[in-house]
Symmetry: D2
Subunit: 311 residues, 4 copies
Amino acid sequence: MSSDDDSDQAIDAGGILYHERLTRTLSRIFQVNRVLYAGRTKYQRIEVVDTPDFGKMLILDGKVQFSLRDEFIYHESLVHPVMFTHPSPEEVLIIGGGDGGALKEVLKHNIVKNVTLVDLDEEVMDIVKKYVPEMFKDSLKDPRVKILNMDGRKFLAETKNKYDIIIIDVTDPFGPSTLLYTKEFYQLVNNALKDGGAMVTHSEGMYSSRKEFVTIYKTIETVFRNTRAYGAFIPSFGDAWTFTIASNTLDPANMDVKVIEKRMKERHVETQFYYPEMHKVLFTLPKDLLKDLKEMKVTISTDKSPVQMPA
Amino acid sequence: MSSDDDSDQAIDAGGILYHERLTRTLSRIFQVNRVLYAGRTKYQRIEVVDTPDFGKMLILDGKVQFSLRDEFIYHESLVHPVMFTHPSPEEVLIIGGGDGGALKEVLKHNIVKNVTLVDLDEEVMDIVKKYVPEMFKDSLKDPRVKILNMDGRKFLAETKNKYDIIIIDVTDPFGPSTLLYTKEFYQLVNNALKDGGAMVTHSEGMYSSRKEFVTIYKTIETVFRNTRAYGAFIPSFGDAWTFTIASNTLDPANMDVKVIEKRMKERHVETQFYYPEMHKVLFTLPKDLLKDLKEMKVTISTDKSPVQMPA
Amino acid sequence: MSSDDDSDQAIDAGGILYHERLTRTLSRIFQVNRVLYAGRTKYQRIEVVDTPDFGKMLILDGKVQFSLRDEFIYHESLVHPVMFTHPSPEEVLIIGGGDGGALKEVLKHNIVKNVTLVDLDEEVMDIVKKYVPEMFKDSLKDPRVKILNMDGRKFLAETKNKYDIIIIDVTDPFGPSTLLYTKEFYQLVNNALKDGGAMVTHSEGMYSSRKEFVTIYKTIETVFRNTRAYGAFIPSFGDAWTFTIASNTLDPANMDVKVIEKRMKERHVETQFYYPEMHKVLFTLPKDLLKDLKEMKVTISTDKSPVQMPA
Amino acid sequence: MSSDDDSDQAIDAGGILYHERLTRTLSRIFQVNRVLYAGRTKYQRIEVVDTPDFGKMLILDGKVQFSLRDEFIYHESLVHPVMFTHPSPEEVLIIGGGDGGALKEVLKHNIVKNVTLVDLDEEVMDIVKKYVPEMFKDSLKDPRVKILNMDGRKFLAETKNKYDIIIIDVTDPFGPSTLLYTKEFYQLVNNALKDGGAMVTHSEGMYSSRKEFVTIYKTIETVFRNTRAYGAFIPSFGDAWTFTIASNTLDPANMDVKVIEKRMKERHVETQFYYPEMHKVLFTLPKDLLKDLKEMKVTISTDKSPVQMPA
């Protein structure tokens, strides 16, 4: 989020802007160099814009999904903690993730035998492939990869496969993603995990949507034995973002740095943000957040009464 | 940054806003519930506004200085790492800090014998005392406290006192603070430290002004034996904020958690954000930042050519 | 709307702004020098702000009501055409007009014997008196003036007085003003007029709310024999504003310039915007507006189904 | 400027916006449905955007040049008053006007024998032709039309032709248009007029740039015998816009309505905004503007010290 090109028009000179609401009462305004795509898919509004501060950005229903400048922070934070916690993550399922970012990180683990990516919105994938080819790179040519364009929840309900790792990378609890943050959904996830498996989901903004975060965390906690939250600041989100890993056997918060180091080497994983010492750091949350995780009263998210982002 | 009062007008309904430029090409727009004060002191533009997302905020020359909702993150991050690194911080000097936040945290250490706060702008202090009394609380009645309204650099050049800890909490390198980020300034700081002493300064946004951060860091490095950077996400700043501790003897990045635990107990320090495990976490920086700290080419900031925020 | 003070911060430097929505998809952003008042009365949200472009502005429920820089255009356009059309406007009723602007213009006509101003919201009047004393000036000391704080429609339904001129200067058809733009309301107005009397109302933006304008015009037409629309550009409204005069006998659009000249002199009326030649000009509407007045299909506004501004 | 499509996202939902600065301290924010083109020509920044309020808009260097929804008001106001004032406008020169709007109106006068359009920026013309074909329609196939892409001032200095009417439709006095508002320029225009000819130029916003308007008006007055200003509210400009006609023989402000009526019929000119009665109305200016035209002190714009829009 630094505007390194001196030729950029300052924001005040007039021009094309992108307006993102962070909360009902707080917005960000990005100067836009170029609108690469703006339209609607069958499921959502979609824009791809190029900005001085973050490079190309994918925006769905008005919320930034990633920026090229810092997607590595988000996607490495989402994928590697759970992948390195697992000793042998061979079968991986990604629910959502149609922008290719999680897929790219998963494929870095040479131990992975196959990855199934189930994303509802084929158009989003096509638009990203066309306008932000940096995201998928050669992932789609990788023989380990299988893409399905269907409802992720429906897939989970019907599949007979089991996975070592399930990565949930869907839009905020709103519109098409509403039922992907409920107890019933996480039970389907649990059923689709092999013994010794683990899931991870992003779980909303640490400050901009703390109540939603705590709700998601506590909902997951009703389903799994070990539930661990962590967070990382994502500049293009304007907030520290939370993630939640859940497993019935593994505990990502108590990993030995040496073990992660060894696994990174063995699997030949190269990163820009994550490294073994960072792993533990991610799980060390601010004291006030720990307090809220203990004390905040929330209602468990269920299909009948799902957690929802305020309009 | 969550708008918990349902009666807040949504930002779109029209009304009073606060516009903060984060970079030349990225802005934030806060809905404003109330403008408590807006004016100019002898040195700078000043506003105190109350917002749904962050409560009361102090803004100097268009940049948020603190919000009541999260000032504890900033001020605890600024003060406690250096204070707990020092075994016996009895004499403390604060340069700037006219909002009272750093002072409040320093005074929590019962080992402190006296604190001198040197801030140029008496009017800022008066406005904070009047409109945000939560900041100073009873600090000014504490007999250990001495307030001087004068130029901090002039004070350093003239004082014959020596301090265990010097905390620099001044506005961004711009306007009245331009010469408080140069090699010459840090030499004055070094001269004013006792043997075994340490300084800390905030050192700009981790992402929004990375080049300025690296410049400040490397400038400090030319003066002190140990220079250590760390960072914490400050929601009301919209960025992870960096801090730099420097000392010729102490090393805050290699503190034993047990030692911090012991010192926190002995000194009876209560916090909302910081805790012993968090200390080390703060110093574990993202890999891409470590790379920039090593490789980014910057020009050391000197009185002749000081680092400056882009207009 | 020219920023004549060179010391004004440019809008881009950050600071306090006022955001007004002109339509659902078009906004104006005013830099604010000072917020003089911001709060809620019993009936509406109210702000008084001072801006570089328009000086002090009164804003109710997010819509600019007047600015000191150009209120003369609005209030002269509202008051003088109907007042000069009438040969002897001695008894005048103002419904709304709590900001004092219409009253000030009416009192310029020395032929006026008494003016009754009926405004629901006493607090608005008090705030204007305190923060924008330029509006009422000495009007309230004028023995011809009588102020009533009550619902204007209730007043009309109950009063036994008759008036030469009734001036309706209320907020947009929304919230407390919803039932002040219906057929039933205009019938009450008609009943309260003396023979030979006339009413005037502002009737919304010529471009920003054309459909509402045509609706109001055609609703009035169902009640009175002569209905005449006119318009004037009001810079602080960002639109040409329409007004509608209705009478069973008088026709403001066919006034002889000489007659107006004579009446202006006799009544000693001094103005800044309006003058005899301008009178006719105001009633000469753009061709496309004439077309819409003829052809646009609208539903007459009634108490059961009143015209309303879109949210 | 009414958002007639109910499916438009409200401005607050986040999305692509266009920010236009009206003055240093007042901005407009348009929601954008589609960015049709955004780039730079050799001379200026250019955007073509589609907005709910105004349809397609052409924007040069951050200033709206026209919108499809109301370009007829601007272009009819620019072209017809001068064209109908002249009894026989056969040879017409347009300086600027690369968007085709003035050309379209001129060609409606069947009495015109040839029109030469001289616009510096060929790329603007090409972009308008491609993205807003509604503007040129079939103008470019009209055998009376000749297009030259060169500097208008250079053309005037070199041409040996004389014209009945010269229409100046260039961007604001800024950048490439700076020397198209000076005394020396108007002398070139005067030299290129036939006896009995007349020129017209737009002359900036009536309120947003009154000083620039008065300066341009008074500069033209130093060159021609008759100089007449008039104005019309252009919704997409957010201001009443001024125009100035100058001639050594003709006087547009004293035209007989019957004559205009006759000429409109003879020449078969169809319009949407302008009509004979409107002609005189346009020249009847607000009293406060007449006062400024008499009393405001301005410096005549010359090549050495040209009038310029404030940055």
